[in-house]
Each structure stands twice: as C-alpha cells, then as structure tokens.
Symmetry: C2
C-alpha cells in the first residue's frame, strides 16, 4: 500500500502532516510530491522534504492521492502534471482525499461533475460551478472521493480516508 | 474513555495536534488543560482553546495523560498542579504519553526512577540523572508509560499510545 501527498509551499501544515503521520502509523508508505525536489514550507513554517517531482510520478504506483489545503492548491492547479495525476486517480476510481483548498486541483481537472464533495467555504462557489454537489459537512464520502472542510475535520477525514483504503475503491 | 492533554504557550504544535486529532478519530473525548483558561499558542502559531485550568482537573476523570513537547513543559514543571497530575497518573499506573520535552514534567515529579524512557536529545541528561534508563528509540514503552523523541516519531508514538489504551494499564 502506497500513498502520495501532492502539495507545494504555503500548505496548511496540519492538513499535510496529520495525514502523513497517520498513514505512516498504519505502515503505509508515503511519498510527498511537489513541483520540484528539495523541500516545501508550510504556512506555519514546518518544512517537509519532497520525495518526488511531479513529472516523475507514475500514478499507477500509488493507491491513494492526498491533496492538503492552504495556499498550495492554488499553485498546483496551474501545474499540468498535478492536474493530470488528479484526473488519472478520479477517472480510474482510485482513492482521493482532499481537504480545504485541496479540491481546487480536482475542480481544475474537471472531474467533480455530479460528485458530492465539500471544501473550505471560500472554495464552495467554484466547487458548485464545476458541477459538484456541495455539502457543508465535516466529511463527505462519494465513492472513491473523501473531502473535508478544515483542520478541525481531520479526525473524520482520516477515519473515512482509511476506511476507503480498507475497502479498496472502484 | 477520556484523555487530557496538558500544555502551555510555546508547545510544539504538531506534537499536541496530532495526538489531539488522532484520539478524536477514535472517538475518545479529549480535554486540553493549561495554567489558565482561554487559549494557548504553539511555537508555529497554531492556537488551541483550553478546556480546563489545571487546578480544576480531577485526574480520576481521565484514562490517559498526554504531555506534548516544545517550550511548554519548561513552564509546566514549575506548576505544582501539573506536576501533581503527572505524579497521580504515574503512581496509579494510568497511561501516560510524553514526547520531546514532555518528560520534563515527569522528571520534576520524581516518577521516572528505574523506568525506561526517551525524550528529545537535550533532555536526555536530566532524564538519566532522575534515575531513568534513557533509550535513543522512536518510542519506548514501559508499563503505563509511552515516550518518544520528536515529531518524526509521531507514527510510532500514536501506535503505542493507542495500544496502551486498548490494553488498559496497570
């Protein structure tokens, strides 16, 4: 079992680090990918080493895609490689977990039409415009997709993310 | 099942928030206690609401004590109430989980003599002087006591903390 977290500078520290440590607790291998190698720095100053540059990623090697929030998704949605990986996961019904601004990458990928999802409040408008059914809940599960709104939703977000991995998707 | 996290301003954000969210994921009730009510602010700027002032705590109401690191334990070890709660847990063999600088509160309480434990490197000296057997491992479990060194140990720290709660202690 292997997960990939895609993020960039300005990530919401806790929305990246909680899934990262939680997946490792389950002995799931986790790679962190970003635009380039080196490290990325969160809004609160936590530094995280980048294991893979986006262009190196073969999404077939991963069982779960995690998209944390913060300012990172606004940068990632301009990266064809990031959007392409998200599309690949969604079209093949592989598990995707996105929180806060994370769903912006899925919106840009055009893969939320007809899907139930949530996000931070400021993204709710464009989520609806992209054809998704927005719900103001701590976690929304729709098939292979788990979404949450904010850090205080992390307990429910992690619970459903792991439940999805146990079930397998598709 | 109910847990109490004791901390103060200058806590290592991730060492408080990861256990906090992880315990809530398990539907364990969690109170955060500090010197006074209001809120405490972590080294990285995360703010956490304080549920209880230390003097209000009846340790019999809790099944687990968590002591995160950062600069908070240096302040807490001067608080008789914090030290008293830690002593109460240790003497009754109730589960205690301390990470990084967290064990400083236990050292001041004089409850580590003959116990196996770890901590961040800068606390190792006083840990040994207090009569504990220091081990440089990601997690050390000795009866009711789980200790870890640093944020990167959080997956092992959480795994053993929850294992201890499942078993019950004593």
């Amino acid at each position: 079992m292997k997960a990939i977290i895609i993020s960039a500078d300005g990530f919401e520290d806790i929305e990246l680090l909680v899934p990262y440590y939680r997946l490792k607790e389950e002995k799931i291998e986790v790679d962190i990918a970003s635009v380039g190698k080196g490290k990325i720095i969160g809004k609160h100053g936590y530094e995280v080493a980048v294991d893979k540059a986006l262009h190196e990623i073969d999404p077939d090697n991963y069982d779960l895609l995690v998209l944390p929030g913060g300012r990172a998704p606004e940068a990632l949605r301009k990266e064809g490689d990031a959007v392409g990986i998200a599309q690949y996961f969604m079209r093949r019904n592989k598990p995707v977990a996105a929180i806060c601004h994370g769903p912006q990458v899925l919106i840009t990928g055009g893969v939320l039409r007809g899907r139930h999802a949530t996000s931070c409040r400021s993204v709710a408008g464009e989520l609806k415009e992209s054809g998704a059914f927005y719900e103001d809940s701590e976690v929304v599960v729709d098939g292979n997709l788990v979404t949450s709104r904010q850090p205080s939703d992390l307990p429910a977000f992690m619970r459903e993310m792991l439940r999805l991995l146990e079930k397998g998707s598709g």
